[in-house]
Symmetry: none
Subunit: 412 residues, 2 copies
């Protein structure tokens, strides 16, 4: 079952404003087994609201709106709904009386404007507002449910949970149980992952989305079933099939990060890590220490940005630096070994590269990064040479360094 | 002139995800004098994308899309656009050749899937992507402009600024002249800044938005005028009035960051900086080295995460550590002095704190952070004790450390 969510209010389209109400509704609908196919924020304009509502009713079985139900001229949801449905607005006498009574109780007289909140499109009904004054509007037609709720978050949330959720369930629109799983993949480009598992996207009753960012790929799996158990088993089977194809490229699930997974592996082995960074400037240490409790397995690091710092403090010999240049496998290995020894860790990681925009040469263009791992034995090293801007090159180098450590810990 | 913004990607509709790309585009369009009338996020479904695009073309003169332009089966923007426009997709030979060449340069062979990025609806043109692989698509018809950009934020932003903004202006769709200025403020909470300058928001012909994040506040000023000069003078007057109220709390404008401003001040003075970090774990060094050319004034740093590292490598004496504890002004000062001396810099910065979620005590709750600056003289120190989650506490500590350096360089 599908839903569209429409947030109404010109203020939502001001610079810097986000759509927190609509994000909340999306999550709540998902919990009911209803999948949001689109979400929009629209200004206070009846014609535009009407066009989006019409599009929503064509696209989805459930439509939830929020905002635009107050009594002022700016509140256009009622008019937009009436236009989209092709029904006139009618004033409800009981609601009108309730508004008058509420004002009387507070020693005031309701202005004519206040009574607009008693208007609703013919054939619709009101949704009780247990907190504020604006009632919601419920439309049910042709097997579809449309609920318009106020924009005040507390009112919207209370009314959705108290009335709309039950209405969706009672209409038989509440779906099917839904189970979700995120598989996190490192060390492979998106296109490689897609070719490896793409045919599994068509697994009946499931849905897969692939996302990539700075060298990491996420596979977001969801599965439906008539019961939570059936949905759970289906997503577990899909996950198992994908894991069989991807093997060790899968580094985790859910909220796992490369750093948290590497940290868990270190803790299990009673080992610690230290870093020697040049082009990443501290971001690798920053990623490790993003993990709560990382002090148990992260010793520290040295940021050796200037060349004389590399030789004076980070364990790189002047001869190696001269012979191979600062961006070289030899210097990455020296940074890794230097960090391991200085911080008395079991494992050292070293990173040196050219993040740009300046400093590239024909042999070592911007994007060239050397990474190394030193564990006192032969260790590991690798070279990246993907282009990108400074930020991307640095974030990718951090991800690859973390993955180098993870793979080493799994299969030394 | 009106715009609609459509972000494409099923991941945008997952629980907890917001529409940051679309929010950015809304702000940028406003700066061009174009008002966004609605903004939507839609799943990877060609038919739904097509219906929203059709609604957008009915509602607005400018349509900007982001996402769904990658090479995989999930990327449906091209198909949705073709359906909405009623035009077939055609493959562009030059773009096809460029894709093949890019893969060849990196020693790889492009898979057939990759060439999908050379497809565009008949009658449209490509928008150059200076950073990544996916070109954008530009459609101009019946006095309307539609631009489809990639979902990767850096690519989307670069392409909007480099190509789409100019196209909107050239089409005569840009409204009255608009001038824009972002004032960046450090060291003050949002409420303080709002009280200092709030009355200026009402300056005729101008619009001000206040945004805050991790201890920093941005004031986004815009002004309209019948000519660019008039708009420019108006925004300059508003900026001057705000600067008079805020003084040295304004650290920069536009793309300035605290690190880039501090770096500029260091370079002007021929001085260098080094860092000794504990709770920030390398993020302070990461912030400095985010600035291109930072090797001229950033020497390096030590991440002294474990206590014995603080004493063995980072210049903290065991007596000081024992007497005051790792999270103390004395240890922050020792880290700053240790970094200054070890890296032979003019200035050292030290940070130590409790980022949580564990490790807090009644005297030193989570969020306690001590920062220090050492220049060989009396130096500076300060203590933060604002609550927050681990990420916020660390990012705020980085911002305050950078601001401590900036203020010291302005008024030693």
């Amino acid at each position: 079952v599908t839903a569209a969510v429409i947030a109404v209010g010109s203020e939502l389209l001001r610079a810097g404003r986000s759509d927190t109400n609509a994000v909340w509704l999306t999550a709540r609908l998902a919990a009911l087994g209803v999948e949001t196919v689109w979400r929009a924020a629209v200004e206070d304009d009846a014609a535009r609201i009407a066009r989006l509502v019409a599009t929503a009713l064509a696209d989805a079985r459930v439509v939830v709106m929020t905002g635009g139900l107050g009594p002022t001229d700016d509140d256009r949801t009622r008019a937009g709904l009436a236009e989209a449905l092709g029904e006139p607005l009618e004033r409800d006498a009981a609601t009108e009386a309730a508004i008058a009574e509420r004002f009387r109780r507070h020693g005031r007289v309701a202005s004519p404007m206040q009574f607009r909140q008693a208007d609703r499109p013919r054939g619709s009904s009101f949704i009780d507002n247990p907190i504020g004054s604006a009632p919601g509007i419920l439309v049910e037609r042709h097997g579809r449910v449309l609920a318009a709720l106020p924009g005040v978050p507390a009112e919207m949330k209370a009314m959705f949970d108290a009335s709309v959720a039950a209405r969706i369930a009672a209409s038989g629109l509440g779906g099917a149980a839904l189970a979700r799983r995120v598989l996190r993949v490192a060390g492979r480009p998106e296109s490689f992952v897609e070719e490896a598992v793409g045919d599994l996207y068509a697994t009946p009753g499931t849905d897969t989305t692939i996302l990539s960012s700075a060298g990491l790929v996420d596979l977001v799996l969801s599965a439906r079933g008539s019961t939570p158990q059936e949905a759970g088993e289906r997503v577990a089977r899909l996950e198992a099939a994908m894991r069989e194809r991807l093997g060790r490229d899968v580094y985790g699930t859910g909220d796992d990060t490369l750093a948290s997974v590497a940290g868990r592996l270190l803790a299990e082995r009673g080992a610690t890590v230290a870093v020697g960074e040049s082009c990443t400037g501290g971001l690798l240490g920053g990623a490790f220490t993003d993990v709560p409790g990382s002090s148990r397995w992260f010793r520290g690091g040295i940021v050796a940005y200037a060349d004389d710092v590399k030789t004076a403090l980070a364990g790189v010999s002047p001869d190696v630096l001269r012979a191979h240049g600062a961006v070289s496998e030899e210097v990455a290995r020296a940074l890794a070994g230097g960090a391991r020894r200085a911080f008395r860790a079991e494992i050292g990681l070293g990173v040196t590269g050219i993040a740009g925009p300046e400093g590239g040469t024909p042999e070592k263009p911007v994007g060239t990064v050397h990474l190394a791992l030193d564990d006192g034995g032969p260790g590991r090293a690798l070279r990246l040479d993907w282009p990108g801007d400074r930020d991307l090159i640095r974030r990718r180098a951090v991800a690859v360094a973390l993955d180098l450590l993870r793979r080493h810990l799994i299969a030394p």
